[in-house]
């Protein structure tokens, strides 16, 4: 950040000091999205569980939310299906019943609007485990055992699709720790918890944000969908002091490249999961959720158009 002389060191230090001085209410507010995300993640699982085990109904004879995250039906009416699973099944040589196809289209459309990896931060049950590992890792001096390119996940995604063709079954669905977890919680865990422990240890001791940030093909799929997101983190370059605290808490810090943000006005890359860590933390309130159409791009000369990255 040396080439940004307008941001003085002292302003950044003041921001950090402001952050550490947070107490009481403002500290709690700093967790608002975290709390909401956990409520959303566990709430959705609870709806599934209640419908499966306690016969929760919307009205008489109409189950509330049956199935699981792979495919479900809300109010006996609205089908939903995991588009990544449906895609794998398609590659395995099966075109599913219309109900699944409509369900997949609905889910895909929803996440294309709110942000693909909103699934990750707000729905996926594995996220609670990887968040815990990430949180602990931030407080423990554990060096990375081996680095891994964050684009690895796209290779895993491609492998999942190729293997679906080769093996004739939806390749990721048959080994997915995400499936094992949500299915396990609703329908019986078996040995699925071992996968969770493995992910936890991997993230904690081997590679920070290792699973969600580097390997998970589902996250990769949703990252690709997320490019069209209409809810995004807006960046206010006038108030930002470049203290860099946001990138420290972000599980995908590469999306918070402040130089790029100055040009785009908001976080563009699909890897952003709209988790809201940065918005809650930013001591200058420079980062906030906003609707993409309302975010006007700041009038900065376009550098990218002429120089090749």
């Amino acid at each position: 950040m040396s080439e940004l002389p307008q941001h003085s060191r002292s302003a950044a230090e003041a921001s950090i000091a402001k952050l550490h001085a947070r107490t009481g209410m403002s500290r709690l507010l700093g967790w608002r999205h975290l709390v909401l995300r956990r409520l959303s993640q566990f709430g959705i699982l609870l709806l599934f569980f209640g419908t499966a085990h306690w016969g929760w109904q919307a009205t008489k004879g109409v189950p509330l939310l049956t199935g699981n995250l792979s495919s479900s039906e809300f109010l006996g009416l609205i089908p939903m299906a995991d588009p990544f699973a449906v895609l794998q099944i398609f590659f395995a040589g099966h075109i599913l019943k219309t109900e699944s196809l409509i369900g997949a289209a609905l889910v895909l459309g929803f996440y294309a609007l709110v942000g693909g990896r909103v699934f990750c931060a707000w729905v996926c049950p594995v996220n609670a485990v990887t968040d815990l590992a990430g949180w602990m890792r931030q407080r423990l001096p554990i060096p990375t055992l081996f680095p891994l390119n964050r684009n690895m996940r796209y290779f895993v995604l491609a492998t999942a699709l190729i293997l679906s063709v080769v093996s004739g079954v939806a390749a990721f669905e048959w080994v997915s720790p995400i499936g094992m977890t949500h299915r396990g919680i609703i329908f019986g865990m078996g040995m699925g918890f071992l996968a969770l422990i493995a992910i936890f240890l991997f993230d904690l001791l081997i590679l920070k944000n290792g699973w969600c940030g580097h390997l998970c093909p589902m996250g990769a799929f949703w990252s690709m969908v997320g490019k069209t997101a209409q809810i995004r983190v807006r960046f206010d370059k006038d108030t930002c002091t470049h203290c860099g605290e946001c990138a420290r808490v972000c599980p995908e810090p590469q999306v918070l490249n402040l130089k790029k943000l100055e040009q785009t006005g908001c976080v563009i890359p699909g890897e952003c999961s709209n988790c809201g860590r940065c918005t809650d933390l930013c001591p200058e309130d420079s980062l906030r959720f906003a609707l993409r159409p309302l975010i006007h791009r700041p009038a900065v000369p376009k550098v990218r158009a002429t120089s090749p990255e």
């Binding site: 699973a85 099966h94 369900g103 669905e173 499936g179 040995m191």
Partner: protein, 258 residues
């Protein structure tokens, strides 16, 4: 190209490395998949399930069939057990399928892994009841016949055959299963009073043989079999007579001067 454009070379090398890692991982992954898919040949599927290979491909593991079953018959396999992961199955000795006439499980299935073509629950073929003749009480000569009495398709799926027995004037009644009517619901297996069920449901491919078409059951044919094999008419060119239609296996019996 490498010298001229280091960025491009860098990218290509990275892509190659990524592909190599994905390929190594892929092989291991593929191995796991194949192990998992053939984990358990004994899995009994809900009514209307596609053939096992297609079922494995089409079922999205959502458990809506499990939720729909009013008897809690169906279970969704957990990870690492002996049933293929995440797929629905049932264990008749615990809870059999009670053959709901409206087939709620099949209707709940969003993928078609439980085929909507199944219209009549009695046409479902989840498995086949097989009797252990050595441990069936009826075949031992006691009057049990519970499976026959409980079978929703009694008289068709299970019939009783009376056999006289030498030592007394009381006949023995042997239950016999007919595969053309047995649904594999497992109500008989659940009802069987022996310590270990003497009648149990197994997937067809594990128990059903196949006689092959080189055997012909003469008494079931409308016409004499030999009529089919009369020598063909003499050809115009006066060539030797050729045999007419052949049945497989008949040639080596009928030719060569036997």
């Amino acid at each position: 190209m490498s010298v001229k454009n280091p960025a491009r070379r860098d990218f290509l090398v990275k892509a190659a490395q990524g592909t190599a890692v994905a390929a190594c991982g892929g092989l291991l992954w593929d191995y796991l998949l194949r192990q998992e898919v053939r984990a358990h040949p004994y899995a009994l599927r809900p009514p209307g399930a596609l053939a096992e290979g297609d079922f494995h491909a089409a079922c999205i593991k959502c458990g809506q069939c499990v939720n729909a079953c009013p008897y809690d018959t169906l279970k969704l396999a957990g990870a690492g057990g002996d049933m293929p992961i995440g797929t629905p199955y049932f264990t008749p000795r615990e809870i059999p399928c009670y053959l709901c006439p409206d087939i709620p499980c099949m209707k709940a299935c969003p993928t078609g892994a439980l085929s909507p073509e199944l219209e009549d629950i009695n046409a479902s073929r989840m498995g086949l009841a097989v009797i252990d003749l050595e441990n069936c009480l009826s075949w031992k000569g006691l009057r049990c016949e519970i499976c026959h009495r409980e079978c929703p398709l009694k008289g068709r799926a299970i019939v009783l055959e009376a056999h006289p027995r030498g030592i007394s004037k009381h006949a023995m009644f042997f239950p016999i299963v007919h595969s053309d009517a047995c649904t594999g619901c497992g109500i008989c297996e659940k009802a069987c009073p022996t310590t270990e069920a003497a009648i149990r449901i197994l997937p067809h491919k594990l128990v059903q043989g196949k006689i092959g078409d080189h055997y012909r059951l003469g008494w079931t044919e409308k016409s004499e079999i030999t009529q089919d094999f009369k020598p063909g008419a003499a050809t115009e060119s006066g060539a030797p007579l050729k045999p007419g239609k052949k049945a497989p296996g008949v040639d080596y019996l009928n030719e060569g001067g036997l």
